[in-house]
């Protein structure tokens, strides 16, 4: 292919990478720069990293923002809350999504196509509105409370909104399709003869699941978990709409530092530490996984 490309065409092929460097990596470098700048009143609300004064070139760099974040349990707790939210909801999505994906994939072709469409519909419909739906449902006067009162389980409406359980519920609900679809993609390709073969060789259904089905759907599990885990770590909307003050999350802290406190250096430092703590391990893991897959091709 490269033989057919003229010199200018090669450059043409590389424009998207230039775009990504300019609008993805440069901005990241920029927040790194701001994260080590000194905060001050004004616009922009930080002092330039390099400035010229009568003493010559002055470098106004500081690690103070990072030290501030990591000395304050408030920020550390928000990181931990986000990690635990991402971990819990990924696990729940996997536990709920796996059997659904499994049975959809094992259905007859005609039924399977209809079920697949039914899985894609929530995936396509607005994320924000699906979160909002739970806000409606969980209201004190909402339908769930009404049902519970009606069947006599509770006598008065209980507050189900504005706590971290509501957040977990909302996250699991909105991200479930992100787990199911990649799982389905791997399970539908699964050769059902392998299950028969395993049974035939003496493995009981549970052993067959653990020794054959699970390892062979591992790529789907990894893909689905990544699709849930990563965005949930930075999730802002769901804690904002369904959550309360019992637990604060990383995404909301950044939002508030930036929009409410207008402290750009702290917001940037939070974002940078977020990347280091949450994202780098994932990238490394993904590269390793890609290598593993490549070797097995």
């Amino acid at each position: 292919m490269i033989k057919n490309l003229k010199k200018q065409n090669v450059w043409f092929v590389f424009t998207p990478y230039l775009w990504l460097v300019l609008f993805f990596f440069v901005p990241l470098a920029l927040i790194f720069k701001i994260s080590i700048s000194v905060s001050e009143w004004g616009m922009p609300p930080y002092r330039d990293l390099f400035s010229l004064s009568e003493n010559g070139l002055e470098i106004n760099s500081t690690l103070g923002n990072y030290l501030f974040i990591f000395s304050d349990p408030f920020y550390i707790r928000s990181y931990l809350n986000s990690l635990s939210l991402a971990f819990t909801s990924t696990l729940l999505c996997l536990l709920i999504g796996y059997p659904i994906a499994f049975y959809v994939a094992k259905s007859k072709t005609s039924i399977r196509n209809i079920l697949l469409i039914m899985l894609i519909i929530p995936f396509w419909s607005s994320f924000l509105l699906r979160v909002y739906a739970w806000k409606v449902l969980l209201q004190g006067s909402g339908i769930i409370n009404s049902i519970l009162i009606h069947i006599g389980l509770i006598s008065e409406p209980i507050s189900m909104l504005h706590n971290h359980y509501a957040v977990i519920l909302g996250v699991v609900y909105t991200y479930l399709p992100f787990m199911i679809l990649p799982l389905y993609g791997y399970l539908v390709k699964f050769d059902l003869n392998l299950i028969d073969a395993s049974n035939d060789l003496g493995a009981k259904p549970f052993n067959t699941f653990v020794k054959v089905i699970l390892p062979l759907s591992l790529p789907g599990i990894v893909a689905g978990s990544m699709l849930v885990f990563i965005p949930v770590v930075g999730e802002y909307i769901i804690p904002e709409m369904l959550g309360g003050s019992d637990k604060l999350y990383f995404g909301k802290i950044i939002w508030d530092e930036f929009f409410v406190n207008r402290d750009w250096p702290i917001a940037s430092a939070l974002a940078m530490s977020g990347i280091v703590i949450l994202v780098f391990p994932i990238i490394i893991f993904q590269l390793m996984y890609a290598k593993y897959n490549f070797r097995n091709e």
């Binding site: 049974n199 035939d200 060789l201 003496g202």
Partner: protein, 352 residues
């Protein structure tokens, strides 16, 4: 046959109101190679899956050594199946595939290693132990699939189209290896195949299936020489089938206008079969008014024998002549007139 090893009694199975098996009965003896032969959709694979335990029959029972195994799940049945596509586990290497079944039994590690090595030697798989399944050839995959079953020392081995995925050369070689292996181990084999040559060369006995029913059971010779009906005659080998007229105690092969004289049994047969290799043709040197004269429509030289398509009174049939027997057959060409002859004992009569 003394005590039948495997007995299939009145087994029926329907899928969504489509009958896959209809009251099938079979008795299979210990240590025999038995083939289920039929075209696709005849129910042979369903029967195999029922024996393996993947499907439950709607009616009927399966007895293995007199014990009813109909309701046993596949993982406790003392038999194994080799799948058509082998169904080897892609995430495991050769050794782990082979010992997969042994690990489900309560056997010591030494015993497992011993038996795996034994089977690796038997099937000449040494050196491939650590290979992944997609790193070995189709023939090797077939042997790994076989090893994976045999290492469990099953009482009965089911083979679903065991040679279908191999290329032609390898298939013939593997056929012999399979028979040798069975002879050495004495395990009962049940083979499902759609390939009549494969069934004939592998089996001690075979069953011909169609539309969920067993049409005929017998050894290859019986089935070839004495097929029960026209369908079987055509399915196994090439068949020349003629109509038979029964007039005033005369038995006449209609298309050839030939009266069969030496016949004891004068039942009301309506059809007869003469296999092509039992009809010989001879080039006519001079024109004569002999009744048994045909015209050669096509000639196909196949090395060891030659195929002739002969036409008599508008009816076409085949004659296969061994080239080693008659060298002047080589001179028979298209459109030649030939004299037809056959031995009356080669005529096999049947009712449609």
């Amino acid at each position: 046959m003394s005590e039948p090893f495997l007995q299939i009694i009145d087994v029926s199975k329907r899928f969504d109101n489509v009958v896959a098996l209809d009251k099938v009965n079979l008795k299979i003896a210990k240590s025999e190679i038995f083939s289920l032969l039929g075209s696709s959709g005849c129910g042979k694979s369903t029967l195999l899956r029922i024996i393996a335990g993947f499907e439950r029959p709607d009616e009927g029972r399966i007895l293995l050594e007199g014990k009813d195994i109909t309701k046993l799940p596949p993982y406790v049945r003392p038999l194994n199946i080799m799948f058509q596509n082998y169904a080897l586990f892609p995430h495991l290497n050769v050794t782990n595939n082979i010992q997969f079944g042994l690990k489900e039994e309560k056997i010591s590690k030494e015993e497992i290693n011993h038996r795996v090595n034994e089977i690796l030697n038997l099937l000449e798989l040494n050196g491939l132990e650590k290979r992944k399944i997609n790193e070995i050839s189709g023939g090797q995959q077939q042997r790994v699939a076989l090893a994976r079953c045999l290492v469990k020392k099953p009482k009965l081995l089911l083979l679903d189209e065991p040679l279908a995925a191999l290329d032609k050369q390898l298939r013939v070689q593997t056929q012999f290896e399979l028979v040798n292996l069975q002879y050495k181990l004495g395990i009962t084999f049940i083979i499902v195949t759609h390939d009549q040559e494969e069934a004939m060369s592998l089996s001690d006995r075979m069953a011909i299936m169609k539309n969920g029913e067993i049409l005929q059971v017998g050894n290859p010779v019986e089935i070839y020489e004495k097929p029960k009906d026209k369908y079987i005659a055509n399915f196994i080998g090439t068949a020349n089938i003629f109509n038979v007229l029964n007039k005033n105690n005369q038995i006449i092969i209609k298309e050839l206008n030939y009266e069969v004289k030496n016949i004891n049994n004068k039942e009301n047969y309506v059809k007869c079969l003469i296999r092509p290799e039992k009809i010989s043709v001879k080039k006519l040197e001079n024109q004569s008014d002999n009744l048994n004269i045909g015209v050669v429509k096509e000639v196909a030289y196949l090395g060891s024998y030659t195929k002739y398509l002969i036409e008599v009174n508008g009816f076409e049939f085949y004659s296969f002549i061994q080239n080693s027997l008659v060298s002047d057959n080589l001179q028979i060409r298209r459109d030649d007139k030939v004299q037809i002859s056959f031995n009356e004992t080669s005529i096999y009569f049947f009712n449609d």
